[in-house]
Symmetry: C2
């Protein structure tokens, strides 16, 4: 058997269309297109015509992720290309990859095989600079906070209660907990703080939820950076930082346009992680896509318990989006893994493990139904899948009354998702809705999610979390939606509890008001907002030739 | 009197030429142009024809900088435009502004008035992302170092001797001294370290001294990040990080092309500070400019004691550049300030202060002559300058046998530098050279600079510096050129010693091997490699309208 090509090799062998051609086909007026070289562009949102928003929105999510890989982005891209092949005016709306995981475990995040967005090297490395702009704004604000204290502290900031953290787009565990301001009075006030990864920063969420530049600016102004000695919140506005932060975001707010290998326009904008952040690409990009395409495939990171839930309860609620269909990506390998099979055995047929593991998928399907949306299971085929396993899945779908269709997007691109596209189009519906009403308070929101989505029995608050709840109430932040940070590997907050666990307890560690984003981050279990690198980082395999050609991204 | 327009207002009122037109005029082949929107581009160095390097190189430096401002970049740009007005094929090669000072004191660094490079808002804010790419590479390498220690430390890195610092493009004194790795064994090893500003980082120097992608990669591989328990240096290559770092720099290595208000092509690439780094734009950009233009105006930050010295001893030595002329920018206000006049009195005529202050200029002129180059003094006029003061300067130049010409570039652009351009062209010479021979050792190099350029009587080494010297010798780094970090305000290491001090002592605090850049950083006096923000940061005045129009940059 010949060695399959790597993702980067497939992408490099592809002849890309000029981005001006893609934009033309997408209906973006030339005067709104800011090109970044021949194959990337930003869409200047101040130069777009009135909103039309006539497109149908299809959300792609997945079963619980596993080390075996489910190919969620790959399915999304293949499905979008299948729609394009049918002659539909389709578009994809995806998140931008974070460089942290690119250098860490992933080595790239732009689909795979013949279902990729391109130029994949550029998209994976810096892209158009949005993440860096977010970090620049975040770190400039941090400098302004410490500088205010250094120069007399007129606002009376309690240095022990500076809550604004710096961020960087890097996997660096050593930055989780730091002391800054060492060296004497000329060098600031020593205090304990930390860095989050840019994908989990509040300004990332602000970018992704803003409706335009004015709204972005208003949200930046509302960022809570500290509390005074009297316990009053201090905002970016109080520090006079809002205009500068917004100026730093002037290009980042414009959605990026690239193409899939099948020539579908892809808006790739904003990249919050779905475990430790809200997990959806920008509202602006989704709206631009809906304005210009008839059908838009968008993603929410990880499963129904993370990205999809946050899509409905945070992004769609806020942006007034209706979800016409939800694709839940699953693989036989990952189902068997969730059924307790060892990772090394996954290529062996096992209906027993499949039968056990499909409970995980069933729960994701049921969760999606709770949001009033129609789930469609996309079974992403691998060569090791046996006919008996595939038949088991078809039978399961019939018994369970859920639409299921196989696809082969890695090897065949859009051609491998034509039937899936038909099933999606046949099942479009209307009237999706959020799960909980935030006006009932943060505790009620958490309880609703814990019981109905995670299927926990109860919620336990650590002492710090109880104090945080009091702060939320004091400041009138108790009616904001919640953004729960939880492991992606389990419905519970314990990563090893695979399948479809019940009877567990959700452990709430800390609640962080994100007054600019407009939600409350709820840290559960042991989840970290700054990842680390593995023993052998993907960075070790990445290289570039004298001709500028990159290798080692996959 | 009407209020003069701000720099950003003048720049915004200007109709820019498409960058494709500028590139055409500059002789850059279309296939080598990567546009970033309509008015910025990168030049793909892998797609340029063979080097021609036929242009003459004119270096613009200044007297010792003062709070009154000398307008060095403004003169450079006005002079370049004056050359263009004469029908010459001219180009400018400048540094990229750092966002730290833009948010701090400066509020912008792209010339001023009618002598600016545009689009100035973009150039001042993120530009094409080069600084962010440098920070990403720097911080990725830092993460890889700590990660190596975390996962078994196979190389035997002495955690107390990790010398690689993180960096950010922000003025943030609180990041000078930090402890990272707090929180327990899962979160790294606690250790003391710090952040430099990106403009002073080693990868910035590597970018600015590399001749092509291969050389960049070789330099990245040679970066010293730590020492082992046995005292052996550990490099980026030892950690397997070189390829990933080079991949992160794949776009940053290409010079940026913009235009002046007078339509001159301007290569704006790389931005090391001249006090705490080597202060020159990239060698690649200077070479591309020399390959395509007949006359190239380039800058070296601050005065002859900082940027210009480093230009000759580091950049020109390494790159084999010959400097055909050196413009030394001075103003009557700054001369009076250097003569002891209070800042608030500078608009009052005072020949006495001028007579005293001109000693500062005389020393810069004499310093330039030591490099075998011809100095030309550009007297940048202000409305407060009196005829008597101007006549004094003309007489001084006659007595001193130095070419001097007035210019009015802020108010009149290139038209205000036509005579200056003529004087520069009339004085072109050949055969510039470095000041010292690094093979005589680091101490000899420092002594040569201290005595001949700073006019110190002696050099004193702090205990730490003596230890550092021993490390340099042990590792065979003693014959690298030196990059002295020193205050820009004085020839000495004491910022308040204005004018032309003699008899002082140069205090060497620390020596840092930069094995990737290929020089030894010598910290003197109290100079900091991470600036702080002032009591009222420029950020407070920066804003952006709903239409995306930026204000408050100046």
């Amino acid at each position: 058997m010949t060695q399959p090509l790597t993702d980067v090799a497939i992408a490099q062998a592809h002849t890309l269309e000029p981005i001006t051609e893609i934009a033309l086909r997408a209906g973006i007026p030339p005067e709104a297109l800011i090109t970044f070289g021949p194959h990337k562009a930003k869409v200047d949102i101040t130069r777009l015509p009135e909103r039309r928003e006539a497109g149908k929105l299809v959300l792609v999510t997945g079963m619980s992720p596993t080390p075996a890989g489910e190919g969620k982005s790959t399915v999304l891209i293949g499905l979008a290309d299948a729609m394009t092949r049918r002659g539909l005016n389709a578009a994809a709306a995806l998140r931008e990859p974070s460089q942290g995981p690119v250098m860490g475990i992933k080595g790239g995040a732009a689909g795979g095989g013949y279902s990729q967005i391109v130029p994949m090297e550029d998209i994976n490395l810096h892209f158009t600079g949005d993440f860096h702009a977010i970090a620049a704004a975040t770190n400039t604000l941090a400098a302004i906070v410490d500088n205010h204290v250094q120069h007399g502290n007129a606002l009376g900031i309690d240095v022990r209660r500076i809550v604004w953290q710096r961020c960087l787009d890097v996997n660096d565990r050593s930055l989780r907990g730091v002391i800054t301001g060492l060296g004497g009075t000329a060098h600031g006030t020593p205090r304990e703080t930390g860095f989050t990864i840019t994908a989990a920063s509040e300004i990332m969420a602000v970018l992704c939820l803003a409706s335009d530049l004015e709204d972005l600016k208003a949200r930046l102004g509302r960022l809570t950076v500290a509390f005074t000695f009297d316990g009053a919140p201090v905002t970016a506005d109080d520090l006079g930082a809002t205009g500068a932060l917004a100026a730093l975001m002037k290009e980042a707010i414009n959605p990026n346009l690239v193409q899939t290998l099948g020539g579908t326009p892809a808006y790739v904008h904003g990249g919050p992680f779905a475990n430790i952040a809200h997990g959806c690409n920008s509202l602006i990009a989704t709206r631009v896509a809906l304005d210009h395409a008839d059908i838009v495939l968008t993603e929410a990171g990880f499963g129904s318990d993370l990205g999809a839930e946050k899509f409905f309860d945070i992004k769609a609620r806020h942006g007034g989006l209706d979800v016409a269909g939800v694709v839940v990506v699953a693989t036989i390998r990952s189902l068997k893994y969730n059924g307790g099979m060892a990772r090394t055995d996954l290529t062996t047929e096992s209906l027993d493990h499949l039968r056990e593991g499909v409970k995980n998928l069933a729960r994701h399907v049921a969760n999606i139904q709770q949001f009033g949306a129609t789930p469609i299971v996309a079974l992403n085929l691998f060569t090791s899948d046996t006919e008996a396993e595939r038949e088991f899945m078809r039978a399961w779908a019939r018994d369970y009354h859920v639409a299921l269709e196989e696809c082969e997007v890695w090897a065949r691109g859009g051609a491998g998702a034509e039937k899936l596209a038909q099933v999606v189009l046949d099942n479009l519906s209307k009237g999706s809705s959020p799960l909980y009403d935030p006006r009932r308070g943060v505790e009620a929101s958490i309880e609703a999610l814990a019981k109905r989505i995670y299927r926990a029995d109860k919620v336990e608050y650590a002492p710090k979390a109880l104090k945080d709840l009091a702060v939320l109430r004091e400041n009138g932040w108790d009616e904001l939606p919640v953004c729960i940070s939880k492991t992606q590997y389990s419905f519970s907050d314990e990563p090893t509890a695979l399948g479809a666990p019940t009877g567990h307890t959700l452990h709430v560690r800390e609640l962080i008001p994100r007054t600019g984003a407009g939600f409350i981050v709820v840290l559960t279990g042991a989840v970290m907002t700054m990842p680390g690198l593995p023993a052998r980082p993907a960075a070790e395999g990445i290289d570039i030739g004298a001709d500028g050609k990159i290798s080692g991204l996959f």
